[in-house]
Symmetry: C2
């Protein structure tokens, strides 16, 4: 759990404590999810050039990149030119690729 919401050790500690309780049987999996959700790394905006850098890093054309993300090539182009701005699920998908590579969404 490196890279938590505030870069502070506090939340990580909370999460660790919760994890311990879980292992001890004091917290069920469902409740555990709440702590996990608290620790989700916040998604940051992606600039057009960051998106392009990401795509070229993965050595994919706009068309191929789009296919992986299940969007249209047209949209990838617009992202990279700053005409449209990914957010919500799209942003999540992009940051997922950024962190774990294109292959993960194959």
């Amino acid at each position: 759990m490196s890279g938590n919401k505030f870069g502070s050790a506090a939340l990580a500690a909370v999460h660790e404590t919760a994890s311990d309780l879980h292992r001890a049987g004091g917290i069920d999996k469902r409740t555990m999810r709440k702590f996990d959700a608290l620790c989700l790394t916040p998604i940051q905006k992606m600039t057009p050039r960051k998106i392009r850098a990401l795509r070229t890093r993965e050595k994919a054309s706009q068309a191929v990149f789009a296919a992986y993300l299940n969007v249209t090539p047209s949209l990838v182009s617009k992202w990279e030119r700053g005409e449209k701005h990914p957010q919500g699920p799209s942003l999540k998908l992009l940051s997922l690729v950024e962190k774990k590579g294109l292959e993960i969404v194959a």
Copy 2:
């Protein structure tokens, strides 16, 4: 590469051949992506009940599920009631969770 576009062995064979060429140095990584993209499993629509089944399988509340997908709890509710229909990036994200579990998007 199980579960290719047409369930046929043909495309898999093409991909295998391409892979061999790649290993032999005849195809660069960029070109290789095209074959990979061809073999991406097509995303199928998700029915409201399938979405709910997925979420409950992961033992997450709508709010927590939404946090993982970087969408609003309101939207998850609409998905599950059939008021809105995920597609494009959202659908990709959901089928990703279906295949690999919620943890993968953490």
